[in-house]
Subunit: 216 residues, 2 copies
DNA sequence: GACGTTTTAGACAATGGTGTCTAATTTGAC
DNA sequence: GTCAAATTAGACACCATTGTCTAAAACGTC
């Protein structure tokens, strides 16, 4: 039983790598078998055919990614004594563990390449991943807004913008499949949060009067 | 000669579509031939083999995309009498003609799927596309900053953030290969520019109530 | 209308991948 | 140690695809 389980995991991991690198049609069962140090027949023993294996891989990675996202979301700062640093640390965790990590890159790439042909496959990820992220973040930002730390009119928009800003400096790296260094992650998060707070931070609330004060 | 040229274009266009949908290994010459209303032999007549055709397609799309980006960049507002509206219109042009259009989607998708195996192929796009965009935008923002319209400390960061904010509301749509509607483009650009100006505008005061949320 | 070029349909070998089967071997539980 | 289950290597049929080849047809130019 333990041997079996180990083989299954080995196959799933190897298949994820090969599928990610080559796409569904480009990946070959032989290559996956070799990468998993397993005979081809063993794969067919565990999974009916290539497509079944692919579905299993996506499900596996999706559930792992969802769990990680949930965990990171629950670390969102609730005390606001040092909002900039706390938000920056949160953005780093989000980028590092959900966006730029193995699973995140896998899912984003696969959704792009195979999402058109397996729309139902990634539906769960779409809802539990990006969808959940925006909703949860929106609620968390709303809390900070109600407590007066932030000044936000549309929480959903702000949530999407927070995520987008967090990725702004990483796009060039991730586009080509690379993984940012810790320094890059830290810098990107710092830039993102700084701008986010310039836009939405209480200290930066646009002074209403200035229009009248503008020098004549 | 004209017939030949037409065939070539037809092949390039059909190949772009099929490669984009299926990826390199998933695309079949027969399918491309059928889509181009051309016999398979004609394709081999114009292009040595599948890889040569692929390279030609990428070069073709890349040069078109670069030209379009250049054109859009040259429409960046230089008068600042109505910065919010001008920037919003610019962001719409950028999204519509460079990011979410046929060529833009093609290149982003192909870079993700095949970029690892043809790194040199997309190098030109990487430099002339995203690279040029950031540099040019950075210079344009610097102009607005020096003239006092914006308050920016790091122009490169601001340029990347402008692009990222412009995509914030469109990610969910484009991730799955969809094309945003004009309303979505307009709303996304409006939200992006509003936040950008809240962060970098000189004593910016929002002009209008927030638009409805752009949803997937 | 004639002629060289291009295109076409179809056949073709070669290749590589999928999924099945079998017989031998290894593994793990008892 | 025994026995059943799992794994392995290899062979196999089958299919799709690539790239070549050929002869016939269409095209364009003069």
């Amino acid at each position: 039983m333990r041997g079996q389980c180990a083989k299954r995991l080995s196959i799933l991991e190897a298949a994820a790598n090969v599928f990610c690198r080559q796409g569904f049609s480009g990946a070959s069962i032989d290559e996956i078998a070799a990468a998993a140090c397993v005979s081809r027949q063993t794969i067919y023993n565990h999974y009916r055919d290539k497509e079944t294996l692919f579905v299993a891989v996506v499900d596996d990675v999706t559930s792992r990614a969802n769990a990680m996202l949930f965990s990171v979301l629950s670390s969102f700062p609730d005390k606001a004594d040092n909002l900039e640093d706390d938000l920056t640390a949160f953005a780093v965790r989000l980028s590092k563990n959900c966006v730029c990590n193995h699973d995140g890159k896998f899912l984003r790439k696969l959704v792009q390449t195979e999402g058109e042909y397996y729309p139902h496959l990634f539906e769960s990820w779409r809802q539990q991943g990006p969808g959940k992220l925006t909703n949860a973040l929106s609620a968390l930002l709303a809390r900070l807004s109600h407590s007066g730390e932030l000044v936000i009119d549309d929480f959903d928009v702000a949530a999407r913008q927070f995520v987008a800003l967090g990725n702004a400096d990483l796009q060039l790296v991730t586009l080509f499949g690379g993984t940012p260094t810790d320094e890059q992650l830290e810098g990107a998060a710092r830039n993102a949060v700084r701008t986010f707070l310039r836009a939405y931070g209480r200290a930066y609330v646009p002074q209403r009067p200035p229009l009248a004060v503008v020098s004549a």
